[in-house]
Symmetry: C2
C-alpha cells in the first residue's frame, strides 16, 4: 500500500513515500539488503563522531534473537510486528567514549542513524516501522545492555503486506491519511511561534 | 569538496555523499529550496505522531535572526558557521501534547527529522553541518523557548566552499578522511557485542 506525503514543497521520492506500515508480507529480506540498511545507519552524522548507535538485529530466520526481540514488545505492537521480516532494537550510548561525559545528543544521533537506515530501506522496497512501545527493562536484562547504554526503539523491517492480515482494530489505522503540522507551525524566526521569513515567499 | 563514504555495502548516493563541511560558499540559498528542506523534516516518523521538532531558522538575508543564531555558537563553531547561507536551531518538545507525559524519544525524533532535512539538502547540492557546541541557556533566553521544549543542535546550511577560506587549524580537519566503526562493532545478535548473524554471509 502506498501513502505518499501530501507535501506542499518538492521532496525526494524516498522521503515522500516513507511511512510506517503494520502489515508486512511474508517475503524474507536478503542478508545483503539488511547489510545495506545498517551501512546507511553507519554513515550518519554524530556529535564528536561518537557514533553512539548500537543495534541488536535479527531476521526471522535467526529464530532465537528474533523471538527475544519480539518478546520485549508491548502486546499491541507484538500483534503485528511479529510478522516483520526482521526486527532490530536501537540503543544509545549515553556517554562520550573519549572522556565519559554525558552525550546530550546520543538519542538524537541514534534517530539520525535510524532515519538513514529507513530511507535506505525505501530504496530497496523495504519499509521500517519504529516503536517506542516495548519493555525497556526487560530488553536491558535479556540483552545484557551495559549501564551506559539505553534502549531507544524497536524497528520492524519488511516488505509491505495487505491490511486484511491485520487484527481488525488496526486495519482502519493502516488506511488513515498521514497528517502533519504545516511548516509555519514549527519553523520559526527569532520570535517564538512567529513563522520564519523565508516561508512567506 | 567531495568526501564520499568508504562504504562496504551499497548505499544510496545522497547518504554516501553526505558529510559535514565547515567551508561554505557565499552563494545564497533559495527560499524555495529551504522550504523543501523543512518539508522533508516535516514528514519524518515520530512516536505517536507527536512531531516534537521545532526549528528557528534564517537565511543570511534575515540578518536579525541569523545574527541571533550565530551568536549562540561557541567561538570555535562561530568562526566558520557564520559563513553558512542559513542557520537553524533544532528544538525538541519534551512532552507528549496529548497528556503531558514525558516523550522519551523527543530528541530521537528530532534527529530523524534533521536527518531527512540533511538528505533532502544533498539532493539540492546543499550541505548541512550540525553542531552541539552552543550556549543552550542563551538560546533558551533569547528565543524565549518554553520550559517544555529544549534546544538540541544548531544546523549550518549552505553550498560547499573551499577549505582555504577556513582558519588554519580547521583546514586539516576539512580534508581528514571520514571514519566509522565497522558493522560487526555495532550490529549485534542476542548476545551483547556478538555480531548479528546476517553479517556473516
Amino acid at each position: 500500500m502506498e501513502k505518499p506525503a501530501d507535501n506542499h514543497h518538492p521532496i525526494e521520492e524516498t522521503i515522500r513515500r516513507r511511512w510506517s506500515p503494520r502489515a508486512f508480507a511474508e517475503t524474507p529480506v536478503h542478508n545483503a539488503d539488511l547489510c545495506s540498511l545498517f551501512e546507511a545507519a553507519r554513515w550518519a552524522a554524530s556529535s564528536m563522531n561518537e557514533q553512539p548507535w548500537v543495534y541488536i538485529a535479527a531476521t526471522r530466520e535467526d529464530v532465537e534473537t528474533f523471538e527475544m526481540l519480539a518478546g520485549v514488545l508491548v502486546p499491541a505492537n507484538y500483534s503485528w510486528a511479529k510478522n516483520a521480516s526482521a526486527l532490530a532494537l536501537s540503543i544509545a550510548k549515553k556517554t562520550f567514549s573519549r572522556d565519559g561525559s554525558e552525550n546530550p545528543v546520543a538519542r538524537h544521533d541514534v534517530g539520525a542513524a535510524s532515519a538513514q537506515l529507513t530511507l535506505q530501506a525505501m530504496t530497496l522496497g523495504l519499509f521500517v516501522h519504529q516503536m517506542g512501545g516495548f519493555d525497556k527493562e526487560k530488553a536491558r536484562d535479556i540483552f545484557q545492555i551495559p549501564d551506559d547504554y539505553e534502549p531507544v526503539t524497536v524497528l520492524a523491517i519488511g516488505y509491505p503486506g495487505i491490511s486484511e492480515t491485520l487484527p481488525e482494530n488496526l486495519r482502519e489505522r493502516e488506511h488513515a491519511p498521514r497528517v502533519r503540522k504545516s511548516l509555519p507551525e514549527f519553523v520559526f524566526r527569532g520570535e517564538w511561534a512567529k513563522s520564519a521569513s523565508f516561508l512567506e515567499d
